[in-house]
Amino acid sequence: MTQRFVMALLIILSLATSSIADVTLPSYPKGKGEHCVEPTDVMRRDHFEYLMHHRQISVHLGVRSKRHSLVGCVDCHASQADDGAYIPVNEPGQFCGSCHIYTAVKIDCFSCHAAVPDAVVKQ
């Protein structure tokens, strides 16, 4: 009985690990500059907190610091295609898109905000 149980457990575990191994982890282009405005592990966990705080103080109070602004994120993390055109950061495989698709968390930032730096949008 115990042997059967152990066998079943092993089979389940091997199935589980093989399915994890099949999933492609997010991969995204490297941002500009040496490092992000905060340590990477902090940004991974709390980027939305920074963005939420910054949106409050910038929209309502008029604080225009760049450190935690969404525009700053896009400026650093938007990558360029071969023809030099910027790729929107929320596209699959791009900085925001890759992780958000992986974690199935929908972002609606870019239904209003520009997902590429301004220089390119400008006619």
Binding site: V59, G62, K66, V74, S111, A114, D118, K122
Partner: protein, 246 residues
């Protein structure tokens, strides 16, 4: 665009405007006059009250420079259906029916001190910044459009469809209300609003922007020394946009 809902209001403005005599332009008036820019991490201050002075005597009837400058600055693309197009600033013709005298003025959010749009907003999305700019926080706007109904100047637009090609400094999106921001992104960098700049470039100089609380600014000096008026003074809104020659 002809909007039948606006007709009575425009006629009203026309009648009241006609009672005021035209004024000569004061020589030596600067077109753009800004206070020293605040630091970027400094919040807007109540010591400042941004204001815009429109000189109807200098505004040219067929000129749309301010309207196109606004559209370019904020990427206000046409929707293909005129009545759904965003309109942050529009040219209004005022006609005195008794003698057919006509005037052309730009009309946009008047940045009222006691703004009706702020009063009626159920979520606090429509708000007044410390320095007098009336803005919409689109993060909290639920698109109910109460503010559009409350605005006596019909100054707000609703975004009906998906928007693309936004500028980084001017986010816009479906389901939210928007209006003139006095180009807050430029003003925070010590630059004049796009409409003011374009009016000056065209040589008309009908728009002067500055701090109404700064006794040294051109806009405040002109407001203190020259006749001018608010639109709909009967509502006692204390608007930030003032008109001369109307």
């Amino acid at each position: 665009m002809t909007d039948p809902a606006n007709k009575p209001r425009r006629r009203f403005l026309g009648r009241t405007g006609a009672s005021t005599a035209l004024l000569a332009l004061v020589p030596g008036v600067k077109l753009v006059d800004l206070a020293l820019a605040k630091d970027e991490d400094e919040p807007a201050s109540v010591k400042t009250r941004w204001g815009l002075l429109v000189d109807a005597n200098r505004c040219v009837t067929d000129c749309q420079a301010c309207v196109s400058a606004c559209e370019d600055e904020h990427a206000l693309a046409k929707t293909g259906t005129a009545r759904l197009d965003p309109q942050w600033i529009r040219k209004v013709e005022l006609v005195d029916e008794s003698n057919d005298r006509s005037l052309s003025i730009p009309l946009m959010c008047q940045h009222c001190e006691d703004a009706p749009c702020v009063d009626v907003c159920p979520t606090g999305a429509s708000f007044k910044r410390a320095d007098g700019m009336v803005l919409v926080d689109k993060h909290t706007c639920i698109g109910c459009r109460y503010c559009m109904m409350a605005c006596p100047f019909n100054a707000r637009s609703f975004v009906h469809g998906e928007v693309t090609g936004q500028k980084s400094y001017s986010p816009r999106g479906k389901g939210t209300v928007e209006s003139c921001t006095l180009c807050v992104h430029r003003v925070d960098q010590d630059r004049a609003p796009a409409c003011v700049e374009s009016c000056a470039v065209d040589g008309h100089g009908a728009l002067t922007f500055g701090d109404l609380n700064d006794s040294e600014s051109t806009v405040s000096k002109t407001v203190r020394s020259q006749p001018h008026r608010e639109l709909r003074p009967d509502l006692a809104l204390n608007t930030g946009v003032r008109y001369r020659g109307v």
